[in-house]
């Protein structure tokens, strides 16, 4: 059986894949289905959902189309989640490989820096970083990656510590390969699988952190974000709770979908490894 089919046969993995598929489709077709500015006024203010079928999920306090905002918000969430996870995995893998491979003083210094980052709550770190540098998509991605790279760094280091004792690393030294080339060409690619297994957790956490930053008004002001929508709806929570509930559900489903799909990938590869 192909790995893809084995993956999809797991109900939780299939559910996760469907949710992620819908999310990607929303992000991809957002500007096609809802051209123009999603923050432009589209109708009367505070129109409840399922009343006017040209505005199926109603409008917010300023008369903006909630469905259009939801679609464009999916873009931000995905961009931040994937961008921050990619940056965190990259930094973590490089730092962990250098620490594990170089050993001694380099290892001590890099791991104490990692400890320092790990002891500061990552949300506070992101909050401080964005408040100092100013909110924009790139800054938010960097701020979240800053708090998320320590996990991958530790996993990569542990893996490198075991790989560096293998014969093929000794073989690479014998043929005169430069230590940095050994670390990044021979060791790092073989240390990656357990590091990549962390990616679903990091993506999900990054999306939640971005939502929390936007909720506090520290998101990119030029983009629609689900966290920003929840914050926006908070002022009319009693009269129009749907304004907070709809993006809230979207957020919960997204995080759930990423976890389920990630778990499915880990389980599928684990089965394959035990079979071979």
């Amino acid at each position: 059986m192909s790995p893809l089919r084995r993956f999809l046969r797991r109900p939780e993995a299939a559910a996760g894949a469907i949710i992620l598929g819908v999310l990607f489709a929303m992000a991809l077709f957002a500007s096609l289905l809802f051209p123009g500015d999603p923050q432009a006024i589209a109708g009367p203010a505070l129109l409840p959902p399922f009343q006017d079928w040209s505005l199926p999920l109603g409008t917010d306090r300023l008369g903006r189309d909630v469905l259009a905002e939801l679609f464009h918000g999916a873009r931000t969430s995905l961009a931040v989640g994937l961008g921050a996870a990619a940056a965190a995995l990259f930094i973590g893998a490089v730092v962990g490989t250098l620490a594990g491979f170089a050993g001694d003083l380099v290892d001590e210094v890099l791991m104490r820096i990692t400890d320092a980052f790990q002891t500061v709550p990552s949300f506070l770190l992101a909050l401080a970083f964005v408040s100092v540098v100013g909110p924009s998509l790139g800054v938010v991605v960097a701020a979240i990656a800053l708090g998320a790279w320590t996990g991958p760094a530790r996993v990569a280091r542990a893996e490198v510590l075991s790989i560096r004792e293998r014969d093929y690393v000794a073989g690479a030294r014998v043929i005169g390969m430069h230590p940095l080339a050994i670390a990044f060409r021979e060791v790092l690619p073989n240390a990656l699988p357990p590091v990549l297994a962390l990616s679903s957790v990091i993506v999900a956490a990054a999306i939640l952190t971005e939502a929390a930053l936007s909720f506090l008004g520290l998101g990119d002001p030029n983009r629609v974000t689900w966290g920003g929508m929840i914050a926006e709806g908070r002022t009319v929570l009693r009269t129009a709770p749907f304004l907070s509930i709809i993006p809230g559900i979207a957020l919960v489903l997204t995080v759930l979908g990423i976890y389920l799909a990630g778990e499915g990938v880990v389980e599928t590869t684990a089965v394959r490894r035990s079979l071979s």
Binding site: A170, G176, H178, N190
Partner: protein
């Protein structure tokens, strides 16, 4: 001419508060074009000596003269450049290569690092290397884990001779191979030595193989030299206790059944 001269080589490991000498004051020399075997039971320090000579592990004491220079004094780029002359073949050819590598990449590395062939020439050089060890050039794009154990050890030898070394350390290089393949690989090693005057430091626990390939033998026991001399003379009439024990334990093909 003396190619490699090792004297008073010592390596100690600390284990649980106690210091154990894995290698204790070992001295030997290899002439160019000669095969010296290091033989001994497990834990006698033969693999540690291989790793010390190759500077994969740093010794606690002793000197290693290679090609007339103090090999232990070399550092960084100078050491990496000199490594071209001193190569190694490992016991398990599967563990000795990056699991993601292809045959071509494994052979490309030494050619690129030591600038032996330019980028455009390398495919031809790789094909020539494969032919020198009795393989065909169509093996190049294959993944290392796809080829047989014997082919893999031939690729390992091809990698070792890619930089035209004057000495190759063979650490139990034929021990993991089945008997028929072992004979072919020994044949290949003898052939390469005859053609290119490469010296071998041949590490093995198998005295039958040592007798077939080595000119001289050093028998080790617990990190010290127990006995050394002409390979046939030592194996046919061992003087030391460990030598007698090893010879008595070796299976003989020509022994008559009772």
């Amino acid at each position: 001419m003396t190619l490699l001269a090792v004297s008073d080589l010592t390596k100690r490991y600390r284990r649980g508060g106690k210091t154990i000498a894995a290698v204790d004051g070992v001295s030997f020399a290899i002439e160019s074009g000669e095969t010296l075997a290091l033989a001994g039971p497990s834990g006698s320090g033969k693999s540690t000596i291989a790793r010390l000579v190759l500077r994969l592990v740093e010794p606690d004491a002793g000197t290693v003269q290679f090609d007339g220079d103090d090999f232990l004094a070399l550092k960084g780029a100078a050491l990496r450049a000199r490594r071209a002359r001193l190569q190694m073949v490992f016991q398990d050819p599967l563990a000795a290569f990056n699991p993601r590598a292809t045959v071509a990449r494994v052979l490309d590395d030494p050619l690129r690092i030591h600038a032996i062939a330019s980028g455009a020439e390398r495919p031809a050089s790789i094909a020539a290397l494969l032919e020198r060890v009795g393989l065909t050039a169509d093996l190049a794009p294959r993944a290392i884990h796809e080829i047989s154990g014997g082919q893999r050890q031939r690729v390992a030898i091809a990698r070792a001779i890619a930089t035209n070394p004057s000495l190759i350390v063979l650490d139990e290089a034929v021990s993991a191979l089945d008997v028929s393949v072992r004979g072919q690989i020994l044949e290949l090693l003898l052939d390469l030595q005859a053609r290119e005057r490469i010296a071998y430091l041949f590490i093995s626990h198998d005295l039958g193989v040592v007798r077939a390939i080595a000119h001289r033998v050093v028998l080790l026991d617990a990190g010290r030299i127990a006995e050394s001399g002409d390979a046939r003379a030592v194996i046919d009439a061992p003087q030391s206790a460990i030598g007698k024990a090893l010879v008595a334990a070796a299976p003989r093909l020509n022994s008559t059944r009772p």
